[in-house]
């Protein structure tokens, strides 16, 4: 039973890590708390539902599409709106992203109603046994895709010129501009990558759990917690944070039961903020 819980926690943790990274990236590079991130994930999930319903394709195949749609949305939003209040400080940018969050929720409500939606691929029930623990193939695939996405993002930021440009604009705006980096573009690109990752993770999330237009609020708590645990802006840290979060999730269900899961989540959140505000690695990591 305990082994089963650990495996469940690890598998969900991969997804949580990736979600946390998408949030952490925007904070680390631009110092913006994106309160719309949870709903962006939900938007990706709804896109997947719609595509599965209309074209009857495998949900995993819709991942590039929802990722790409959210990527374009994110680029446009950052370039046209968020850049316009960029210097206004955290109060203004947080309020702005909250406004975006409300608009997104309303768009989802107008298109898809307030019902819970999920996808149910034919192979959802298939699993295999490992040391007496059951591992569904779907969860394993979700874990694998999420980890690959996170690791390749980390590689992209560290080893390509665009990635370095993004890092540079986080470290010193003025100096980055002097060496010829268009920081408006690189900020927009950062936000677009974050949104695109969120959209792709929405696809994975809806394969595991059904979503409603208002699920974004719970996701926001999870992703903020993951990002804080790992240190905001720190990608390898967020991987660890995601796994810890996944384990806490599955053990709180085992020990306390379903109805206290949310209480544990929020209480844990506040305790982490009070006692570990800089995460496991004890420093703040920008870019």
């Amino acid at each position: 039973m305990i082994l089963q819980m650990i495996i469940n926690g690890l598998l969900v943790g991969g997804l949580y890590a990736s979600i946390g990274v998408s949030f952490s990236l925007v904070y680390g590079i631009m110092g913006i708390i994106n309160l719309a991130q949870g709903t962006q994930i939900i938007l990706g999930a709804y896109l997947t539902c719609a595509m599965v319903q209309f074209f009857h394709i495998d949900p995993f195949l819709t991942l590039p599409v929802s990722g790409f749609v959210l990527f374009c949305w994110g680029y446009a939003i950052q370039r046209c709106i968020i850049n316009m209040v960029g210097k206004g400080g955290v109060v203004l940018t947080s309020l702005l992203t909250f406004g975006l969050n409300l608009v997104l929720i309303n768009i989802i409500l107008l298109i898809w109603n307030a019902d819970f939606r999920g996808v149910n691929p034919a192979y959802a029930g298939k699993n295999f046994e490992l040391f007496g623990a059951t591992i569904p193939y779907v969860r394993l695939a979700v874990f694998f895709v999420a980890v690959v996405a996170t690791v390749s993002l980390h590689w992209f930021l560290g080893h390509t010129q665009t990635g370095n440009a993004i890092h540079a604009s986080a470290q010193n705006k003025r100096a980055a501009q002097i060496v010829g980096i268009n920081i408006r573009h690189s900020y927009a690109l950062t936000f677009a990558i974050s949104s695109g990752l969120a959209g792709a993770m929405g696809t994975l999330y809806v394969i595991l759990k059904p979503v409603s237009p208002f699920s974004g609020a719970d996701l926001l708590m999870i992703l903020f917690l993951v990002a804080v645990l790992g240190g905001l802006g720190n990608i390898p840290g967020a991987l660890l944070g995601g796994v810890v979060m996944g384990l806490t999730d599955s053990f709180s269900v085992l020990c306390l039961g379903m109805q206290y899961q949310k209480i544990v989540l929020f209480l844990g959140f506040i305790l982490v903020l009070i006692f570990l505000p800089r995460g496991f690695f004890g420093r703040r990591f920008y870019g």
Binding site: V85, S94, L95, L96, F98, N101, I263, L273, I274, P277
Partner: protein, 332 residues
């Protein structure tokens, strides 16, 4: 330009007569409303005043002190539940329950504030959001609060008009009291300390202002206002459940009102409350399914075009460059 003394307050009131006359007329009109208008409008205005109180609550902590307590609805719910539990289970009269709600909110915020106000802005923001969700979950799972089913309070005795008028004057007086309180703070050393913390916390502590006690005081005052509003709301509605009093939308609306009216100004949040509540009443009675879209769009446009609030525009000539000033100052 009026001259200012050591604490930055105006010593000679510039353009005082026109302002004072308009202000006096508005105040008189506010007191006479229940005599002239009936039912619907009295309730609507009482609601506006309630949001005015909430907006003044966030004005102290976010507008003056710069700490975005996005989950301030927590104290609204707490105040409402303290009143409801005391009145239904212990038969306490309303004035006592009302006072207890304010005290409860202050004790809670001061206790928690000492812990979480050490956090920097963004972390504090998320911590308050989590706190309000936590409070909602805890209240939903307790027996004494009726869980998810909610509580029904003892009825206010009297006809419909008496009820309307009572809550209208209660909300109006509360709002005026809060605004007066903010006016006092704005003119005092305390307000100056709050503004210094908002401007630069490190610099403020170098200047001899120890931030944690000031921040806690700001949050306690904020929670006092919000708790009172919650208490009055509970008695007014006669029935509360966790979904109603911990709803996130009012929490956002009070920020919208504060920013739109002018964060860190005395009358701004009240003006914002009046504007937003009237607009939403107008829009929501017709476009119910677009309510988030409308609030969200106003929020975005406010952040873009009037980041300093409407009060900043009062008395200035309207030009295109004034309209785009916010964007020019803040864009990257």
């Amino acid at each position: 330009m009026a001259e200012r003394d050591r604490l930055g307050r105006k010593t000679t009131a510039g353009g005082a007569w026109a302002t004072r006359t308009v202000f006096g007329v508005l105040l008189l009109a506010a007191f006479l409303v229940p005599l002239a208008l009936r039912g619907y409008w009295v309730r609507l205005l009482a609601n506006v005043f309630m949001f005015g109180i909430l907006a003044q609550g966030v004005n102290i902590i976010a507008g003056y002190c710069g700490y975005l307590a996005l989950g301030n609805i927590l104290f609204f719910g707490l105040g409402a539940y303290v009143t409801a539990v005391l009145m239904t289970h212990f038969g306490v009269p309303f004035p006592v329950a009302f006072a207890a709600s304010g005290a409860g909110a202050v004790i809670f915020s001061a206790g928690i504030g000492l812990l979480i106000l050490r956090l920097k802005g963004q972390y504090f923001l998320m911590a308050t959001l989590a706190l309000s969700e936590l409070m909602r979950e805890v209240i939903s799972s307790l027996d004494i609060t009726g869980g998810g089913r909610g509580l029904t309070l003892p009825m206010f005795t009297g006809g419909a008009a008496t009820v309307n008028n009572f809550f209208y004057y209660l909300m109006l007086l509360l709002m005026l009291a809060c605004t007066f309180c903010i006016w006092l703070i704005d003119r005092s050393y305390l307000g100056l300390a709050f503004k210094a913390i908002k401007f630069d916390e490190d610099a403020a502590s170098v200047m001899g202002i120890n931030p944690p006690p000031y921040k806690t005081a700001a949050w306690a005052i904020s929670s006092l206002f919000t708790g009172f509003a919650g208490s009055a709301f509970a008695y007014w509605m006669g029935y509360i459940d966790p979904g109603v009093v911990f709803e996130i939308t009012p929490s956002i609306k009070m920020y919208l009102m504060m920013v739109l009216g002018g964060a860190g100004t005395v009358w701004g949040p009240v003006a914002g409350a009046l504007f937003i509540e009237l607009v939403s009443e107008l829009a929501w009675s017709r476009f119910m399914e677009y309510q988030f879209l409308i609030v969200g769009s106003i929020l975005i446009l406010t952040c873009l075009f009037t980041p300093k609030g409407l009060m900043d525009l009062v008395g200035k000539k309207f030009t295109w460059s004034l309209f785009t000033k916010g964007i020019r100052e803040n864009k990257i």
